[in-house]
C-alpha cells in the first residue's frame, strides 16, 4: 500500500508539473484528491490493514496528500499571477490621451472682481447695499450736492428718460438712500456695487455701460486718516501686500476734502513702465470726506458725525488685474474671452 501511495505521489507530481493552466490543474485536483479521486481510492483499502500498519500508512498518506496539495497551491498561485499579468497587459491604455472633464463654466471677470472686492470689505465689517439703476435726478445729482445747472454736471453726460428720471451715472445715489434708510443711526458701513450709465462713445477704454463700487462710512469721529488706512488695507488685499497708495487733491461735489488715489503700478511695481506711462502709479479710485451738505441731505448732522466715501470703476480694476486691452470685451461675451476666467 505504501508503494501504491508513493507511486501515486510520483505520478501526481509529474502530471501536475505538466498542467498547462488553471482548468487542468483543477481537473487534476479532483482526479487525485477528490471524493472519487485516486488517493481516496487507495485509502479505501486502509480497513484491511493491521492495527500496527494503519498509523504508519496513515502518516504516509497524509504526507503524500500534503505534498500534492502544496504543489497544487504553488501552481495555482503561479497561474493566477500569470493570468493577472496577462490581464494587465491586455488592459493597458494610453494614459496620455485627454481626460473627460465635466463641463465647467466661468464666472464673468467683472463679477469675479466685484465679489473679491465685496469679500474684502465684508471682512472689514461692511454690508453690501444696492439701489435702482433707473434713478431720479434728485438722488443721482441734487442730493449729492449737484444742483441743476451745476457746472460739474458736464463731467458726466447722462441718459435721461424724462426730465426727472435717468439712468444713474454713479452708484453714489445708494449712499443717500442708505443714509435715509438708516434714519440718522450710526455707524454706516456699506459698499455698493452696481451698473452705471454715461453717454460715451464706446472705444477701448470707454463704455456707456459700466460698473462701479462705492464705499461709505459714517460715524462719530471718522477722519481722513481712517480713509487712507481703509484704502491701503483694501489695495493690499487686491493688488498685493507691497502696494502703496498716493492721494492727490481733486474735486467731487459730494466730498470735501476730495482726492484721487493712485496705487503702485501693478505691472512694474513702481519702477515705471508703459502701462503707468513711466510714472510708477496708476489712478484707480476717487474718494474724500463726505460733504456736509450730503450728510445733511442724508439726515445726519455734520457737526455730530463725519464720514468718508470712495468709488472706483470695476472695469478699470479688471483691466489692470487681468491685463485686458479692451473694455468692450466685457460686454461682447465672446466665449473665448469668458472661458479664460474659469479658474482661480
Amino acid at each position: 500500500m505504501k508503494e501504491r501511495l508513493e507511486t501515486l505521489r510520483a505520478e501526481a507530481l509529474r502530471e501536475l508539473e505538466a498542467a498547462a493552466d488553471a482548468a487542468q490543474l483543477d481537473e487534476l485536483r479532483v482526479r487525485i484528491l477528490g471524493k472519487k479521486g485516486a488517493l481516496t481510492e487507495i485509502l479505501r483499502g486502509m480497513g484491511a490493514l493491521s492495527a500496527e500498519e494503519r498509523p504508519v500508512i496513515g502518516q504516509v498518506a497524509n504526507e503524500v496528500r500534503g505534498a500534492i496539495e502544496t504543489v497544487i497551491e504553488e501552481k495555482r498561485l503561479a497561474f493566477q499571477q500569470a493570468e493577472t499579468a496577462r490581464r494587465l497587459q491586455a488592459e493597458t491604455i494610453d494614459v496620455t490621451l485627454p481626460g473627460i472633464a465635466p463641463a465647467g463654466g466661468a464666472i464673468h471677470p467683472l463679477t469675479k472682481v466685484v465679489e473679491e472686492i465685496e469679500d474684502v470689505f465684508v471682512g472689514m465689517g461692511y454690508t453690501v447695499a444696492e439701489g435702482p439703476e433707473v434713478e431720479t435726478d434728485y438722488y443721482n445729482f441734487e442730493a449729492l450736492n449737484l444742483p441743476k445747472h451745476h457746472p460739474a454736471r458736464d463731467m458726466q453726460d447722462s441718459f435721461y428718460i424724462t426730465d426727472e428720471i435717468l439712468m444713474r451715472t454713479q452708484t453714489s445715489p445708494v449712499q443717500i438712500r442708505t443714509m435715509k434708510a438708516m434714519n440718522g443711526q450710526t455707524p454706516v458701513k456699506i459698499i455698493c456695487p452696481g451698473k452705471v450709465y454715461r453717454r460715451d462713445d464706446d472705444d477701448a477704454t470707454h463704455s456707456f455701460q459700466f460698473n462701479q463700487i462705492e464705499g461709505l462710512v459714517i460715524d462719530k469721529n471718522i477722519r481722513m486718516s481712517d480713509l487712507k488706512g481703509t484704502l491701503l488695507q483694501f489695495v493690499r488685499q487686491i493688488f498685493g501686500p507691497q502696494t502703496q497708495i498716493r492721494l492727490r487733491p481733486s474735486f467731487f461735489p459730494f466730498t470735501e476734502p476730495s482726492a484721487e488715489v493712485d496705487v503702485t503700478c501693478v505691472q512694474c511695481g513702481g519702477s515705471g513702465c508703459r502701462m503707468c506711462k513711466q510714472s510708477g502709479w496708476l489712478e484707480i479710485l476717487g474718494c474724500g470726506m463726505v460733504h456736509p451738505r450730503v450728510l445733511e441731505m442724508g439726515g445726519y448732522d455734520p457737526r455730530e458725525v463725519s464720514g468718508f466715501a470712495f468709488g472706483m470703476g470695476v472695469e478699470r480694476i479688471a483691466l489692470l488685474k487681468y491685463g485686458i486691452d479692451d473694455i468692450r470685451h466685457f460686454y461682447t461675451n465672446d466665449l473665448r474671452f469668458l472661458g479664460q476666467f474659469a479658474r482661480i
Binding site: H149, T162, M224, S306
Partner: protein
Amino acid sequence: MNVSYQWLKEYIALDGLSPEELAEKLTRGGIEVDGAQPRGGALELVTVGFVKAKRKHPDADKLNVCTVDVGGPEELQIVCGAPNVDAGQLVPVAQVGAKLPGGLKIKRAKLRGVESLGMICSAKELGINDKLLPKEQQEGILVLPEGSEIGSPIAELLGLDDVVLELDLTPNRSDCLSLLGVAYELGALTGHPVRLPETAVHAASEQASERVAVGIAAQEACPHYAARYIKGVRVAPSPQWLQNRLIAAGVRPINNIVDITNYVLLEYGQPLHAFDADTVKGGRLDVRYAQPGERLTTLDGQARKLEAHMLVVADGERPVALAGVMGGADTEVTGGTVNIVLESACFDGAVVRRTSRELGLRSESSVRFEKQVDPARVIPALDRAASLMAELAGGLVADGIVQAGEPCIEPVTVQASLARINGLLGTTLSNLEVKTILGRLDFRYTLLEGDIYEVQVPSRRGDIALDVDVIEEIARLHGYDNIPTTPIEGATTPGGLSVAQRIRRALRQRMTGAGLHEAITYSFTSPARTALLPELAGDATPVRLAMPMSEERSVLRTGLVPGLLELAVYNRNRSAERVAVFEIGSVYLTDEATLTRQPQEKPRLAGLLTGARPAAWNAKPAAPDFYTAKGLVDAALELLGLADKAVYEPAAPQHMHPGRTAAVLLETERGRERVGYVGQLHPDEQRTHDLEDTYVFELELEPLCDAADFGIVYRQLPRYPSSRRDLAVVVDSGVAAGSLKASIAATAGAWLESVEVFDVYTGERLGAGKKSVALALVYRHPERTLTDEEIAELQERVVGELAHSFDAHLRA
C-alpha cells in the same frame, strides 16, 4: 487752460523749477497738469534772415534760388520751394546743422544741381500750430515782422523756447483759468509772492461819460457793468511777443485791440469785449434780455435768432453782443476802427451757460463766466486793458469809468477750529503750521478764542464757502501724503451679504458648475429685440431713453433672453460649436407710457443652450435638448430648496416652440405663481437667427428668493430596508408623466418613499398614439420591514387608480 511757462514767470518766481517739476508740483497740489508740451524748443542755428535776392532755379519751375543774409560773414545761397518767398522779406532760416521740431536735420544739399545751404521755414516747420496764425501766414514760409533783427535767434523772436503746461482743471478750480490764478496757486505751493501787472491808466482830460453811457435792465443776470472809452487807436497786428503768448495759450492773434482783450482775459480770467465806438448807436450800452424776434450776427458770422431768456448788450437800437458769450459783427473792431468802447462786466454764470448751450456757442468768455469769475477783477482788468491799448495801439484813454451796478463781492468768512481741522483730517497740526499754510494761500484770518480761525476768503476763490473747503486747502498744502494712516476706531460692525446677494452668488456657482459661462449683456436694447420675448412680465412697454445713442440701444430690456440670443449668434458666427451661457441681471418694467416714477427693476436668471458639446475623442457630441435646459432650472430650484414647490405646465408663449415649452410655477401661500419658463426657441426664430435647436429659460428671482428655504434639517438615516417595485404602464401618448407620478404619490400612501420615471418607450408593438412609461416605486416603513403582502396591496391600489384615471394598463 494752457499756460506758457515763460509767461507765468512774469507773475511769480519759479525758482528754477523746470516745466516738468512745475507740472509735478501743481499736480500733487491738486491742479492736474495733463502734459508739458515744448513749443519749438531752443532751435539753435535757426535765425532771422533777410532775403536779398531771388532768382528762378535754372532747372525747376517751382524752385527759387535765394541769397540770404543771416548776419554772418557770408551770405547763404538757399533753394526755396515756397511760392510766397520774395526779395526784401525777413524770414526764419534754418542753417546747416540745425534740428527742427519735426526731427528734420538741415544738411548742405544740392537741389536739382544747385547748392542749398539751409532752409527757409514755414510756421509749421518751427513747431507753431499754424491753425492759430492768420490765414496769410499759414501758407508757405513764415514772413517775419519788419524790424526783426537779422541773425537773431528765431526762438527768442517767436517765443519758441517755451513749454506749455496743459491744465486739466476740476470744475471747482475755475480760479486757475487765468495766469494770475495759477500764480496764486503756485504761490501757495512755494511761498513766493504774486507780482500783479502794471495797470496805471494815464487818462486824457475828456470824460468817458460824455461819450458813452451804460445801463443794466437785468440786475440779477448782470450785477456790474463797466466800460472805458479809448479814442484814436491804430488797429494793427500786435507786437510779436504778445502774439507769441496768445499762440502759446492757444488763442489766435487778430489785431492789437482784440488781442489785448484776449491777453487780459488770459491774464486775469476776466472776459473783456471791445466795441468799435463809432458803430454803437445812440452812445449807450444796456444789458437786458433779448426781445422776441431779435436777431444778432455774432463775430463768427452766424446769424442768431435770440430767445427772451438770452442776455444781450444792446446799443440805442439793437443787440450788439450776446452778453458774456460773443460780440456782434456790426460793432466789431476792424482795420478802420478808431475809437473803442471797452467792456468789462460780471454776467451770471447760469444765464451765460444756458445761452451758450442752446446756441452751441462756446467761447473763452462763456467758459469763464459759466464757472464764475472773480468780481473784484472787473475794474483792474478793464484798467489793465485800457493801459495796454494806450501803450500798444496809441490810444488815448478818456477819463473815468462808466458803470452800472456795483461789484458783487460778498465777503465770505469761514470758521474752523484747530480741533475740527485735526479731527477731520486725523492730523496733529499746530497753530503755527496752520497759520503758515493760510499765509501762503494769501487768506486773511483772525484767530479767535479757543483756537478758532476766522478766515476771510479772497473773492478769487469762489469755491470756498464752508469750513471743510478751508480744511481741504490746509490738507492739500500740508500734503495728503503727510496725513497718517489709521484704522477706524469705534464699535465694530458685522459685515455680510443680504439673502438675495447670497442666492445670486450660489446660483452663479451652480450654473458655472453645470458648465455655463456667465455673461453680462447691455441693459439697453432695441424695441425689436424686446419684442422677441415670451411674455414673462405681462405686456410691459419697454422704457425708452429720451436721447438714445442709436436705435439699437434705445430702450431698457424687459427680459434677458434676447441679449443671450444676440451673444449666441455672435459666438456661433465665430465658430463656437456650443453656446452655454447664463446671466443674472435686472429687467426694467413699467405700465406707464410716460414715466412719472421709476420703473420696477426685477432681478432675473436666464440661460441659453445651443449647439452640441464638442465630441471628445471617445464620445459623441452631445446636443442639448429640452430636458437639459429643464435640468438647469431643476438644479436652480433644488439649490434654493424649492424642488418640491415647483410645477411645470405645458405652455405656448410667442416665439417659443409650442410643444416644447413649459411655464415654471411656484406653489406659494398666495397660490401657484408663474415664475418663469423653459423651452425651445420657435423653429422660425431659430431660422431667423441662423441657429440650431436652441433652448432657453428665464426665471424671476424675487419670488424664488422670498420662498427660498435655507433650513437644512437632517433626516435620520433609514434603519429598515426599502423595497423597490417597477411598474410599466401603457397610456395614451398625451398623458403627462408628471400626472402619473402625482397620481401614484397621492394613491400609494405614506410608505411610498419615492417614485421616478426610468424609461419611456413608444413603438409599433404598443400601437399608434400609445406609450409605455416605466416607473420605479420605492416603499419603506420607518419602523419595520414591510411585508410583500402589504406592498402588493399598495401596488394594486396604484394600478387601479392609474387604470381609472388614465386608462392605463400594465404592459404585458
